[in-house]
């Protein structure tokens, strides 16, 4: 079951009105979207370069192939809405929600100025800062969905106007907690959008070996809310689907399960021999590279030419690398301060056995 060439975005399974905010995007906004898709790709590529150079600590799960999702999701909702990405999409979403490259790189390199003060590390970072609202990804797969569902419950209890979009990997989507969360959200009609970034593989396990049915979106019927299959390489399709689902949630009509079909172009980790798939499969999938698809679309519409593309690429790289240069001058956390965040109440004996 390689990614099917027929993956076309379908209306949601409840047939409700499908909004197309993409049709209202101005030319400038379309070019901006392209800029962001490229920015996210380039950021990830730069991370891979840093990692391969041996400078970068920890592990890395590049999101090459997921950029239509990372770039479209923040645009599909209001700036006040909550987002919760996966280890593939989170980096890009954070950058688009205004976290500086300095803070992102500083986290990648374990600096005190990093978005999590060097306590978290790359691709699982996130933040509960109220002006950013990109909730951290929980590294234990599946629990994202549960925590985001709690946020949705809080939004409902507080009668707030915001919604949360929770991204989930296809591998994570089979976790029990995700199912539990979906049942609960379905019962209470919580203001949440579950969006699965289905890149057809989890670590080394192919999608057909973890899902007995072809489309994750079909699972939604069990939870009593609509499911929708979306071409996750088509930024505009993602934008429209997430927007429709978010507005539905905002109206109090409950969750939607979106399946954003895409493909992971690189290994699960750097150095992954990728024995679980053929080179042919990867090169076939690369024909639907979201970056190239969108560039082609904008070239077709006369919004981009070679000079514009070169210019955007150049500016993006400059932004990313300027942040990197700044971050590398930033201090590391001081081990003597490390305990300070463990307890909030702060009045307990903090000694060896406390």
């Amino acid at each position: 079951m390689a990614i099917s060439k027929e993956t076309k975005t379908r209306p949601a399974s409840d047939g409700a009105e499908f909004l197309r905010p993409s049709e209202q995007l101005t030319d400038d906004q379309l070019v901006d979207l392209y800029r962001d898709i490229h920015l996210i790709r380039r950021f990830s590529e730069r991370q891979v370069e840093e990692f391969e150079s041996g400078r970068m600590p920890g592990g890395l799960h590049p999101g090459h192939g997921h950029e239509a999702i990372s770039a479209a999701v923040p645009r599909a909702v209001r700036p006040s809405d909550y987002l919760n990405g996966t280890h593939r999409s989170q980096n890009g979403i954070l950058a688009l929600r205004g976290v500086s490259f300095r803070r992102l790189w500083a986290e990648v390199f374990g600096r005190e100025t990093g978005i999590n003060g060097g306590r978290r590390g790359v691709d699982l970072m996130g933040t509960f800062e109220d002006d950013i609202r990109v909730w951290a990804h929980n590294p234990v797969l599946g629990h994202n969905a549960g925590i985001a569902t709690g946020a949705a419950l809080a939004l409902q209890l507080d009668e707030r106007d915001e919604v949360i979009v929770c991204l989930i990997g296809d591998g994570a989507s089979v976790c029990g907690t995700v199912w539990e969360a979906c049942f609960f959200a379905g019962i209470r009609k919580l203001p949440i959008v579950y969006a699965v970034e289905n890149n057809m593989v989890a670590y080394t396990t192919r999608f057909e070996d973890m899902s007995p049915i072809e489309n994750i979106s079909d699972r939604a019927s069990a939870f009593g809310f609509p499911g929708q299959l979306v071409d996750g390489n088509d930024a505009l399709a993602v934008l429209d689907a997430v927007h429709t689902a978010a507005e539905r949630a905002r109206r109090g009509e409950g969750p939607t399960l979106l399946e954003l079909k895409t493909y992971r172009f690189v290994g699960h980790f750097i150095g992954d021999p990728q024995v679980y798939r053929t080179r042919e499969e990867v090169s076939e999938a690369r024909k639907s590279d979201p970056l190239h698809l969108f560039e082609a679309l904008l070239r077709d519409r006369g919004l981009l030419d070679d000079a514009a593309v070169t210019n955007i690429h150049h500016e993006n790289l400059e932004r990313i690398d300027a942040g990197l240069a700044e971050a590398m001058l930033d201090p590391f956390p001081n081990p003597a301060d490390a305990l300070s965040r463990t307890y909030r109440s702060g009045t307990y004996p903090m000694g060896y056995s406390s």
Binding site: G150, A151, A154, F184, Y343, R344, Y348, M350
Partner: protein
């Protein structure tokens, strides 16, 4: 079982049993802070397994008392999410044993997030714990050690109605994630205390000396504290041995000072637990005494705990498994007489 003990809190402020004490703490904290909420299974009309949340929904509304399906994993995650959104959830587990279903959230969420993300997770988990009611191993085990290993968590384990009340209130008010273990026998035997009219709290992280003595220090928590005091009374009468009983009350952070002070006086220590000894909190206490109070010790720290098999069902083997005054008494006699 709990039904007959559902005396209204208002009826008597003089004496409250464990059930009423917990109930009073919940009611007061919900009244004091409108961000305090309860979430769990069957907690609305049924009031949870021991009836402690019964009536809360009528008093504080549907929003603040939330029934969930049997989704421990997700509702505990949800409680983390609620905490991050400014709520102060009190999570009701039907049995403390079911914390195994949400241990990920307790550890990777509640205990890690404050450190990693510079946030506070002001949630409280309540779990009925311990044996004696023949519910067997999946609903009667003592698993405090499993949770106690992780910094960031506060673990409370009262042995009396007063402590349960004062500590639960502190836990709910704490900005750190707290786990409150409530020993089921405290409910079952309707253990009670004299209560003052006025609200009060008991600080987290402070042990209490439940009986003073000069010959040996028992460090314990939960139901075995009561068995220890019972044993100490008998020893005093029959052997003239005076045992001091230190009730940890909060397992983490552990009140090292109170333990060491007592050992300084008695020069002998014994840890008494319902939990297994291997890899246990009791081992932590013994290690602490040996590490920091070695010069005060006249003998190695003794440890009493459960045998190394899961807590069984049948009365004779379950009784043999549990910590009793008799076991404590016999052990002390062997040590001291």
């Amino acid at each position: 079982m709990s039904q007959e003990h559902q005396t209204e809190v208002e009826r008597t402020m003089a004496e409250l049993n464990f059930f009423d004490a917990v109930k009073r703490a919940l009611r007061e904290e919900m009244a004091n802070d409108d961000r305090v909420m309860c979430i769990g299974e069957d907690i609305r009309s049924h009031g949870g397994p021991y009836g402690t949340t019964k009536g809360l929904m009528e008093l504080y509304g549907e929003k603040r008392v939330i029934d969930t399906p049997i989704i421990e994993s997700a509702f505990f995650d949800a409680a983390v999410g609620l905490s991050l959104m400014g709520w102060r959830p009190v999570v009701d587990l039907m049995a403390a044993d079911f914390i195994t279903l949400c241990v990920d959230q307790v550890i990777h969420g509640a205990s890690h997030y404050p450190f990693m993300f510079d946030v506070q997770i002001p949630l409280t988990i309540r779990g009925p714990i311990g044996g004696g009611l023949r519910f067997t191993a999946s609903q009667e085990k003592s698993l405090e050690a499993m949770i106690a290993n992780f910094p960031g968590l506060i673990i409370v384990y009262p042995s009396s109605a007063l402590d349960a009340y004062g500590l639960l209130k502190s836990a709910i008010r704490s900005n750190d994630p707290c786990i409150v273990f409530e020993h089921k026998l405290l409910y079952f035997y309707s253990v009670s205390d004299e209560f003052p009219e006025d609200e009060f709290t008991i600080p987290l992280g402070e042990a209490a000396v439940k009986r003073t003595g000069t010959d040996l220090t028992i460090v314990s928590w939960g139901w075995p504290v009561r068995e220890s005091v019972k044993a100490a009374e008998v020893l005093s009468e029959t052997e003239g041995i005076e045992v001091e009983v230190v009730d940890l009350r909060t397992l983490r952070p552990m009140d090292r000072a109170t333990i060491l002070e007592s050992v300084k006086k008695t020069n002998r220590a014994m840890v008494v637990t319902e939990a297994h000894r291997f890899g246990s909190m009791g081992a932590e206490v013994a290690a602490t005494i040996q590490e920091f109070g070695f010069d005060d010790l006249d003998a190695p720290v003794a440890r009493l705990g459960a045998p190394e098999y899961p807590i069984p069902f049948s009365a004779p083997i379950q009784d043999a498994y549990l910590m009793t005054a008799d076991k404590i008494l016999q052990t002390i006699k062997e040590l001291l007489v």
